[in-house]
Symmetry: C2
Subunit: 305 residues, 2 copies
Amino acid sequence: MPDKLKLTILGRGSAIPSKLANQSSQILGIHSKYMLIDCGEGTQNVIRQLDLSLARLNHIFISHLHGDHILGLPGLLSTLGMLGRKGTLNIYGHANLEKYIEQQISFFGEDFGFPIAFHAIDPFHPAVIYEDKAMKVTSFPLKHSIPSNGFIFEEKPKPLHLCKEKADKYGVPISQYLNIKNGMDYVDEDGRVIPNAELTLPADPSKKYVYCSDTAYNEKMIPLIEHADCLFHEATFLSQQKLRAKETQHSTAAQAAEIARKAKVKQLIIGHISARYTDFEPLLEEAKAIFENTILAEEKKSYWF
Amino acid sequence: MPDKLKLTILGRGSAIPSKLANQSSQILGIHSKYMLIDCGEGTQNVIRQLDLSLARLNHIFISHLHGDHILGLPGLLSTLGMLGRKGTLNIYGHANLEKYIEQQISFFGEDFGFPIAFHAIDPFHPAVIYEDKAMKVTSFPLKHSIPSNGFIFEEKPKPLHLCKEKADKYGVPISQYLNIKNGMDYVDEDGRVIPNAELTLPADPSKKYVYCSDTAYNEKMIPLIEHADCLFHEATFLSQQKLRAKETQHSTAAQAAEIARKAKVKQLIIGHISARYTDFEPLLEEAKAIFENTILAEEKKSYWF
């Protein structure tokens, strides 16, 4: 299992694509799985340009039903089918997203050739929407002009590191390794208890990635997202357009940074930048003045954390 | 009025986008108008990257209703609306395309903010679908797995060049210039007839561009397209995949070239290349062996003729 999560930005723009930015989309690589987050027009083009394996993609998370977050879905599903996909694809989004997918199937007169498991997201309350042995995904409500959800991708606690030398010293049989990695003490044949702490080193930290787009400034999310290793937060506008941000229920770069600071995250990535800007650096500067560890999302680039 | 037509390739690929090719789309620049031909996913992205003026785009021609020719339409229409378009946009395509557009409007719950005039194409017979003073567009049936149309963009005959020296010599008043440019003789005040040929030089040739995609090899189109200044013909496959081409109702590069040769066109551009090819040069070589004046479509590149 790779140590780090890998986030690849496919699109860092907002509603209107520009020379600098495609519509929203990104892929989180976690435990050899690809999790696609939002799917604006052209998502599949960038995936193919980067040679990302579509075989590893089994889960798609859609934040909300504005076109710049879903218009790439029909083409991507069609391509998956043409490439011979047979396995189930899980799609998580607002209940109406299922209707959108059904409309596509109905218009083109055939399904995509593989099963789709659609998972409707509760737009009002945080909820675990995916879970396996090693990780879970939680959706939570954002504050936007239509129902919009953020996503928290969290690794579960990892096993402790077994200290092989100590295990040998106390004659621990291999059959007990897993129990010890999971935190149990070792009791030897004479009934002597070797405390777990004597046999192990701390586990690797579990990572947490949070995606927040589209949303107005919203402190309510802070308890959920705090201490994230990486937070992607939309920063559609500069503070100069603060009123416009409020009207359209988007955030400024400063507001994104304020959330990052208050939530004590380790790293902030800003994106979903408006096509009105022909230079994105001022947005980065604005955010960094409030939260130093900010990165401006770059398309086709990957970030490890 | 610019002398030449300008064809810009936005996408030269087929159903599945690849590193080498986007889905089908191109723009013909004619008499300061932009005519968009097909609109695969990502069309608006390339338009924006090339800074092509969307204000000049009033006509969109869709060959057929496979996803790789229409999936870019919802995003493009949405962007036009967000950029403040108010004028009517004309869309020409199979009758069911109107349903596709209506589905988008119905799903997103609002129209695009400007009027769309939809023009259903007769899928069985050639027909003039657009006409103005200087040009016309004719649709004609192709041979594909679903109804598919080619398009012929033709300039109307242009005015003759008035020979100013001769006009002065014979005392032709300015009020008569337009008549003479349109081919009339000049009759002077004494009733003397000056033949038109004495006063004029030949008109610039009228240009003809033909778009044929998607289609199997089909000689029936030849009488319609012959002597075109430029023919874009799909070449999805190499001749090695001739059977696959027949099954899927597509053409090989050799077949595209054969049509160009038999139709005595001046220039052939091949495109709609399958994503199975990681090198497109062999397709060009195959076509050139039959029709020397062949070009392999390059994306984001413009061709004048």
